[in-house]
């Protein structure tokens, strides 16, 4: 892992790397994923030297948002950024990054009520109940909030240290991969690490973090001649990337389309090589889209794997049922709550019908008398 090289530096000279915080459990340095609520659910943030794997939703609507947040957070924290994609132009991705919300206090944080102001008279039993906040974010200043309706300014992009890779003009010769794009990308990442002094073996007067963002790895754009060769290339690439990361001050976000590898163990193998795995299950095009239970959300988020660096046990997932929604301005991850049953739902109507038929004439087992009931007995 990214541990400091054996150079004794006086404590007064050690400067905190911007946009990082140490984990309390294992003293591992963490960076924000760009979504404070996601940071909360994955154990505080993404550890330096780790791979965050995002398994894309079928139409890649929401994985793309997480991917953009990750890059935007890097630019906001003055980290170096490496953007790689064969499916979209990296320059276009950069232009579409969300702009940061410059506020001292985010609006959505619940106000802590003072005992005197909100003293309950009628429902006094609820006075001391804990306030349920279904969008738990880290209350410290770590990670920023972004506005999806606004794009990042040109000045911010010009100031940032960004390297892009789009898979064009590959000239390197290799015997390692069937698809030379993997090899070229690996060499480009290594070059960026060496050039920016991000390797732990290099000494740098001022440390910074390299954020590597690779979109749709293993998609149709990364195909080799056969499916088997494509899988082998992908797994080999992730293993070699893991080796590079363990020796550097860098973090990676990988988004992968799991539908391409539905009938193989490739996705499981990539999961085994990654440190954090997040799966996005979108409701678009599924029966859940019209289910009233999920009407407040756009999909479910499964945290499949959490990192276990320098410790026996990984951070335990506090909640197993998480859902996400994409609002006009922001992407939110929340604990899944069932909506209150206020109006007359379909379930309620069915219950009423059933009740009528059973209490009505003939004990409710004859369908001929009531045309509306589909039950035959």
């Amino acid at each position: 892992m990214a541990t400091a090289p054996n150079v004794t530096v006086p404590k007064s000279q050690i400067r905190a790397i911007p946009g990082t915080k140490p984990a309390t459990r294992n003293a591992q340095l963490l960076v924000s994923s760009g979504i404070p609520s996601l940071d909360h659910f994955i154990g505080g943030g993404v550890p330096i030297g780790s791979i965050l794997l995002v398994e894309e939703d079928p139409y890649n609507t929401y994985a793309k948002v997480i991917y953009k947040y990750f890059i935007a957070e890097g630019i906001e924290c003055t980290h170096s950024v490496f953007v790689a994609s064969q499916d979209a132009k990296p320059e276009q991705i950069l232009k579409e990054l969300p702009a940061v919300v410059k506020e001292d206090e985010p609006k959505h944080r619940p106000k802590v009520p003072s005992a005197k102001d909100d003293e309950m008279i009628i429902a006094w039993r609820y006075q001391n109940m804990k306030i349920v906040d279904s969008s738990p974010g880290d209350k410290s200043i770590f990670g920023h909030y972004y506005d999806l309706t606004k794009n990042i300014s040109k000045e911010a992009l010009e100031k940032a240290n960004i390297t892009t890779w789009n898979g064009e003009n590959i000239q390197c010769q290799n015997s390692l991969f069937e698809n030379a794009a993997y090899y070229d990308l690996l060499l480009s990442i290594d070059k960026t690490i060496q050039k920016g002094n991000f390797s732990i073996s290099q000494t740098a007067s001022e440390r910074n973090i390299l954020r590597i963002a690779i979109q749709c790895i293993g998609s149709r754009m990364w195909m080799s001649d056969t499916e088997e060769k494509t899988s082998k290339d992908l797994v080999k690439f992730v293993y070699m990337l893991r080796a590079l990361l363990r020796e550097s001050y860098a973090v990676v976000i990988l988004t992968i389309p799991p539908l391409n590898y539905e009938e193989t163990t490739t996705v499981q193998r990539v999961e085994h090589l990654s440190d954090i795995v997040v799966d996005l299950e979108s409701f678009a095009g599924s029966a859940k889209e019209t289910n009233p239970v999920f009407k407040d959300y756009h999909g479910l988020l499964n945290v499949k794997k959490l990192p276990a660096f320098n410790t026996l046990v990984s951070q335990e997932s506090l909640y197993s049922d998480l859902a996400f929604k994409l609002r006009r301005k922001k992407f939110l991850i929340e604990i899944l709550h069932l909506p209150p049953e206020l109006g007359e739902t379909t379930q309620r109507e069915q219950d009423d019908l059933g009740c009528c038929s059973s209490t009505g004439r003939g004990g409710g087992c004859s369908s001929g008398s009531r045309g509306q009931s589909k039950l035959d007995f």
Binding site: M1, T3, R25, N26, N174, S175, L176, L186, L187, D190, K191, Q194, K232, V235, K236, V238, Y239, M240, R242, A243, L244, R246, E247, E263, T264, T265, Q268, R269, E271, H272, L273, K304, K305, A308, F309, N310, T311, L312, V313, S314, E316, S317, S320
Partner: protein, 267 residues
């Protein structure tokens, strides 16, 4: 770690000249079993050789410090480490620099059989030769985890050849205990190479330890299931062990608690 050592029986039974296989199912982490074996080696002052494909040596050292032993203190003395992850990273640096011709000890651009031979030679030079120098001392060779050899491009035949080579070390060095970890995947989908190798190892190992996640989902009280199979009938009769011993385990930061299936009482 006492509980794990007792459960797998390495503190009682003779393990010299035997193969211990740890099968790690997908969505579970068998690192705690390795840490228990390492803790046992440190306590008994056995020589320890680590071939680390998955985690770094730093990880093992840091966990060891929490559990009460220092691996770095004995590095290159009674603890020898081979880290293919570091060599892979060095390989990539060299490809980017002008020193491409520099000889690498473990070059994954090589053809698979040559790669296996290189790896076997490194293990032999670094670990087995040192073990021979200390003839009276028991030696543990730990490989974590074998399934990553598939990731660097080897096939079933190559890995089977690798296993045969390292098994031959037991014949050379009777006080050697070979401990191999391998990750297995849900193989209902396709023909899975890693699972084939795991089955072969399960068949030939003297002690098989299986770490599984809970089939029914997540639990706050339990991290997963641990199953221990001692193949040797004489050892089983000696210590009155059943053919299969199953436990539930709960991982904590500095310890692992074991439970009997269906109970919440600590064993």
């Amino acid at each position: 770690m006492e509980e794990i050592r007792e459960a797998i029986g390495i503190d009682k039974a003779t393990t010299s000249g035997s193969l211990i296989f740890i099968e790690e199912h997908h969505h579970s982490d068998a690192n705690f079993v390795l840490q228990a074996i390492i803790a046992h080696c440190k306590e008994k002052n056995h020589m320890l050789n680590l071939v680390l494909f998955h985690n770094t040596f730093g990880h093992f050292h840091n966990v060891g410090m929490k559990l009460g032993y220092n691996l770095k203190k004995d590095l290159n003395n009674t603890v020898n480490v081979i880290e293919p992850l570091k060599v892979v990273s060095k390989n990539i640096h060299l490809q980017n620099s002008d020193n491409i011709k520099e000889n690498l000890e473990f070059d994954i651009t090589n053809k698979s059989t040559h790669l296996v031979n290189q790896l076997v030679k490194i293990i032999k030079d670094e670990c087995i030769s040192k073990a021979k120098e200390m003839s009276e001392q028991k030696v543990y060779l730990i490989i974590d985890d074998l399934s990553h050899l598939f990731d660097v491009g080897l096939n079933v035949q190559d890995i089977w050849y690798f296993i045969r080579c390292i098994r031959s070390f037991i014949n050379d060095e009777p006080l050697l205990t070979l401990c191999v970890t391998s990750h297995v995947f849900d193989s209902s989908l396709e023909f899975c190479e890693t699972n084939i190798i795991a089955n072969v190892l399960k068949h030939s190992a003297d002690l098989v330890i299986v770490v599984r996640p809970l089939e029914t989902g997540q639990s706050r009280e339990i991290s997963g299931k641990l199953a221990v199979y001692w193949k040797s009938e004489s050892e089983r009769l000696r210590f009155k062990w059943s053919e299969e011993m199953t436990y539930l385990y709960k991982l904590h930061d500095r310890e692992v608690k074991l439970f009997a299936p269906g109970s919440s009482r600590i064993m």
